[in-house]
Every structure is written in structure tokens, then in C-alpha cells.
């Protein structure tokens, strides 16, 4: 149930985020969601795409250093308290969140959170035990 996330190194300067997105778009790879972590000097662009293997190939061929990490996508209610319930559940499991980002679908009042855990398998088990919906790649 883990999702493959592509990360790439970007220099912190104008236009740098555009180029990789263009590489993917020209080849018809769709970006489901993304997140940009930035520091003063560099950024890390994290992408979830519909075909991660092809996405990685395209980006590497375009000269990017691409890292593939397994992240967990979790669905919560898009309403007050939705996130709290999820975090409480994780808190009890003792797994550590390295980082997270969120997006909402344009349908059904649900939001999706992407988590990078230090131990994703423990997290998934814990979430499932609490009836929280962990999404697989096809559902994304």
C-alpha cells in the first residue's frame, strides 16, 4: 500500500521548478500532487505521478538526480477533526513523521495526506487497525 514518490534536487533560482514539470507533461505523465521543500540555496521537489517508473526514467534522462521513496497516502474527512483523529492514532504507535503534505480532491469531501514515515509498515498497520483508509497507487 505504499506509494512511490519521486524527489529531485533543484537549485533555488527562478524557473527551476518549471523544467522537470515540463519534462513530465511533454511525455504525458500526470502529476497527482507535489510538494516543494526549500532552503536558501536549494530545493527538493517531491512528486507523486501516475507512472512513477516512467517519470523517473524521463527525469533521469533529462539529467536530474532522482530519488524514489516510499510514502503512505491516507484519506481523511475534509472537515474539522479529520486530521486530529489520524495524528492521535499515529501518536500512539510511536512512528515518526519525517514530513507530510496534503491535498484535497475535488470530490466527495475527502482529503488525502501524504506521509513520509521512518517506519511506514508500522504506520500502515496502526492506521488500518483504526479503520483509517490507506490509499494504494491506483486509487490515487
Amino acid at each position: 500500500m505504499k506509494i512511490h514518490q519521486l524527489s529531485l534536487f533543484l537549485e533555488n533560482s527562478p524557473g527551476k521548478a518549471l523544467e522537470p514539470c515540463r519534462v513530465l507533461s511533454c511525455a504525458g505523465v500526470n502529476i497527482r500532487t507535489l510538494n516543494l521543500a526549500d532552503t536558501q540555496q536549494f530545493g527538493i521537489l517531491r512528486l507523486i505521478v501516475d507512472d512513477w517508473e516512467r517519470g523517473r526514467q524521463l527525469l533521469q534522462a533529462a539529467g536530474y538526480v532522482v530519488n524514489v521513496t516510499e510514502v503512505v497516502a491516507v484519506e481523511v474527512d475534509d472537515q474539522p477533526g479529520g486530521l486530529v483523529r489520524l495524528l492521535e492514532c499515529l501518536d500512539s504507535s510511536g512512528v515518526n513523521i519525517e514530513y507530510m503534505y496534503a491535498f484535497t480532491f475535488g470530490r466527495g469531501g475527502r482529503a488525502v495526506l501524504i506521509f513520509r514515515f521512518d517506519s511506514p509498515d508500522v504506520a500502515i498497520e496502526c492506521l488500518r487497525g483504526s479503520d483509517i483508509n490507506v490509499l494504494g497507487a491506483p486509487e490515487l
Binding site: 514518490q5 534536487f9 527538493i44
Partner: protein, 434 residues
């Protein structure tokens, strides 16, 4: 083990070698004295003449020749042969000021081919090898020097010259290339590009790389060998002396055997010019013992090395020089501290385990020297977590700080953003106003 017949002088007993060297030195000094005005003037000023050479050690009494002598006498001022006997000219690129020009008679070309044959044989090449010669063909001595060496050896040369990396990779694969000659930085570029094209170099028949024209380290060797699935050999040479083929590593990969029956080595203190005892590190000074068109007497190479006199397990009696770690003229003075780019390279290697592509940028900010070391992010060190990359940045700058005692800023840059030269890697950009 089979030996190429050209390699016989590699195994001369020492007394015989010294005799040969002295005889050749006397002849070449006499030739230079008779035919090269600058050399004669300098000898006369010191009341010396070639007859004073009774022993090889007497060489130390003779005046040095420097690169500026070649520039000052540009283009043909140091030639000892009339143009009717000169069959080839080469020239340096002349990135700083005037280029220098070097000349060869037919005999000189034969010597050059001979030492290149011996060099390639020392790297284990033989008939049947298919050698991709990716040194630039042209005024640069690398291309043609290696070319005639491979042909002389009886191996097959592919005169592909430098550049057009994708075609190099196709040729390497399709022609079943077994050895390559190029600069070490260009080979890394090739390996990187091959990876991008989905070609695993370890599956190719390529087994040896003969790398020269820029200094490289043992850690670089590990990277060349692991990325290319080859053995990497260091070859040394310079146009002023002959081109590639002055010295080369053998299978022991522990120092470069100098073809000292043609190029006599001394190591001197770069400040005082005093000859140093064997084993001490200093500037390499070379005297050509057989070159007709342009004899070089005690040429200051600016390369820092030491002579190794211990016998080599390969059986060659030729003295070895340690690999060039730095040049006496690439020293940078940063905030009053003497810095060699090789020290920064060493620090990066220690911190990261492999040598990344890097470049040192010097600027002056409010009157103070500022150093930025740009380091390319590699797949091995890249992470999706910010703190890991910030930690890397910190480790690199700490490592440089410890080595140099100088605070520098390290900037991680995207892969392939530092220019790869197909000739020599440009490690330092000095933007300080002088």
C-alpha cells in the same frame, strides 16, 4: 607474461642505464650549445661548456629552462634543427598569454612512438586490443601521441578524438573497445552519460583506461575503476618534453616509471632550485636525452612529485615518480593561507567517500577573499529530506575547514551544472581583482 620488444630498455641494469644516460646527455648538451642561442648564452655566463659533464650528477650545474623561455622565444627560438628536418609542430592552447610551439624531427617522432609503445605495453595492452583514442587530435600532443603509440604497439586504434560523447559510447560498445585513452574527467563524463543511456559499462569488453593530461588521485582511481569496470593507469607527459609518454604506471599501479633513457628526471626544491635527494618531494625537472629538434635541458615542469628508487615488483629498472599531487604554480593564496586545490579535493573525498564534481570559486567581498566550493549532488548522496542534504553541506564545509583551517562556504548544485571540459578539468575560478 610476454614482453614487447620495444620494452627492452625498461629492464636495463642500472650501471648500463647510467652509462647510456651520460653518453646521451653529453651529446644533447653539445647539440643545444651549438645550435640554441639562449642555452649557449646561459652556459657562457656561467663559464660552462658541455665538456664539463663528466658525470650524470654534473647535470645539476646546468641552467634551468622554463616555460617563459618557450614563450619569450616564440615561435621557433629554441629549435636545434633547421626547418628542413622538422617534420611536425605542435602547440599548446595558450590559455595564458602566447602559446608555445614544439618541434619534432623524424627521429623525435620515432622516439615518441617508442616511449608510447612502452607505456601502453606497461599498461598491459598488446596486439589485438582495440583502443579508443579520445584525446583531442590537433595541435594538442595527446591525440597523435597516443595514436602512433597504439599503432606502433600493433593494437587497433580508433582515432575518434574528443567530444561527441554519445557517439563515443556507441563506438565503445559496437566496436568492442578494450581500452580507452582520455582525460580522467572525460571518462567520468562518459560513464555518467552511458548510465543515462542505460548502458552498463561493466558489461562491455572495456578493461583498461590510460588517463593523463591532468593530475588525478588514488581515490579518483577507485571511482574510475568502479564506474567503468576497468583498471585505470596514469600516464604522464608534457608537450615541452615530448607529449604523453614521459612516464606511466605499470600493473603495480604504484608510481609512474619514467622512460629515463630518454627523459632524465631530477627533483628540485621549487624555491631554491637545489637538487633534492631521491625520495624527497619537490618540483620535477626533466632533461630530454635524445630529442633533436628541440632539446630541453633541465626543464622546470612545475609538477610536484618525488622519485622512487626502490625496485618495482614488475621488474622494470626505470625509476618511478609518485603521482603528481599538485603543481607548484596552482597554489592559491586565500586570506594569506596557501591552498592547493588538491587539498580541497582530498577533504571532499574524505567527507563523501567518493569524489564529486566540484569547482572552487574565489571572489573578493569588501576586500576579503571569499571561497565558495560548489559540489554537484550525486544520486549516492541525494535524499528527499532537507536535513540530510543540509547535514551533507555541513560535513563538507567542516572537512574543508579542518584541512585548510579556513572557513569556506559549500553550495550544493544540480548535477551537470559544473562545466565538464573535454580536455582538462577547470577546478578553480578566480574572480578576485588583482
Amino acid at each position: 607474461m610476454s614482453y614487447h620488444s620495444a620494452s627492452a630498455p625498461d629492464y636495463l641494469p642500472l650501471p648500463r642505464m647510467r652509462e647510456l644516460q651520460l653518453a646521451r646527455l653529453r651529446a644533447i648538451a653539445a647539440r643545444a650549445y651549438e645550435r640554441v642561442a639562449l642555452f649557449r648564452e646561459r652556459m657562457d655566463e656561467r663559464s660552462l661548456d658541455p665538456e664539463c659533464l663528466r658525470d650524470i650528477a654534473d647535470l645539476a650545474r646546468l641552467p634551468f629552462t622554463t616555460k617563459s623561455d618557450l614563450r619569450d622565444t616564440y615561435p621557433f627560438g629554441l629549435f636545434a634543427s633547421p626547418m628542413a628536418e622538422v617534420v611536425r609542430l605542435h602547440a599548446s592552447s595558450g590559455t595564458t598569454g602566447k602559446p608555445i610551439v614544439v618541434a619534432y624531427t623524424r627521429e623525435d617522432l620515432a622516439v615518441w612512438t617508442e616511449v608510447m609503445v612502452r607505456a601502453l605495453a606497461a599498461c598491459g595492452l598488446t596486439r589485438g586490443d582495440i583502443v579508443q583514442n579520445a584525446y583531442g587530435y590537433g595541435l594538442f600532443t595527446g591525440g597523435l601521441g597516443a595514436h602512433y603509440g597504439v599503432e606502433g604497439l600493433g593494437a587497433t586504434v580508433i582515432p575518434i578524438s574528443g567530444g561527441n560523447t554519445d557517439r563515443q559510447i556507441t563506438v565503445m560498445r559496437d566496436f568492442r573497445v578494450t581500452a580507452i585513452c582520455c582525460t580522467p574527467s572525460y571518462f567520468l563524463h562518459l560513464a555518467e552519460r552511458a548510465g543515462e543511456l542505460g548502458i552498463d559499462m561493466h558489461t562491455l569488453p572495456l578493461r583498461a583506461g590510460i588517463f593523463g593530461a591532468e593530475p588525478w588521485t588514488d581515490s579518483m582511481r577507485r571511482r574510475l575503476e568502479s564506474e567503468g569496470g576497468i583498471r585505470a593507469y596514469d600516464i604522464y607527459g608534457l608537450s615541452e618534453i615530448i607529449g604523453p609518454g614521459v612516464a606511466v604506471e605499470c600493473g603495480c599501479q604504484d608510481g609512474l616509471h619514467i622512460f629515463e633513457d630518454h627523459f632524465y628526471p631530477e627533483v628540485v626544491d621549487p624555491e631554491t632550485g637545489e637538487v633534492l635527494p631521491d625520495g624527497e618531494e619537490g618540483e620535477l625537472v626533466l632533461t630530454t636525452l635524445s630529442k633533436q629538434a628541440m632539446p630541453m635541458i633541465r626543464y622546470r615542469t612545475r609538477d610536484i612529485t618525488r622519485l622512487m628508487t626502490e625496485p618495482c615488483p614488475c621488474g622494470r629498472t626505470l625509476r618511478r615518480m609518485s603521482r603528481i599531487s599538485r603543481r607548484s604554480d596552482d597554489m592559491l593564496i586565500i586570506r594569506g593561507v596557501n591552498v592547493f586545490p588538491s587539498q580541497i579535493e582530498h577533504a571532499l573525498l574524505q567527507a563523501e567517500g567518493t569524489l564529486p564534481h566540484y569547482q572552487i570559486i574565489l571572489t573578493r567581498q569588501k576586500g576579503l577573499d571569499a571561497v565558495e566550493v560548489q559540489v554537484e549532488v550525486t544520486p549516492q548522496v541525494f535524499s528527499d529530506e532537507v536535513r540530510t542534504l543540509e547535514g551533507l553541506q555541513q560535513r563538507l564545509s567542516d572537512a574543508i575547514d579542518r584541512t585548510l583551517g579556513l572557513r569556506v562556504s559549500v553550495r550544493l548544485v544540480a548535477p551537470r551544472t559544473i562545466a565538464r571540459s573535454e580536455g582538462k578539468a577547470k577546478r578553480v575560478i578566480d574572480r578576485r581583482e588583482s
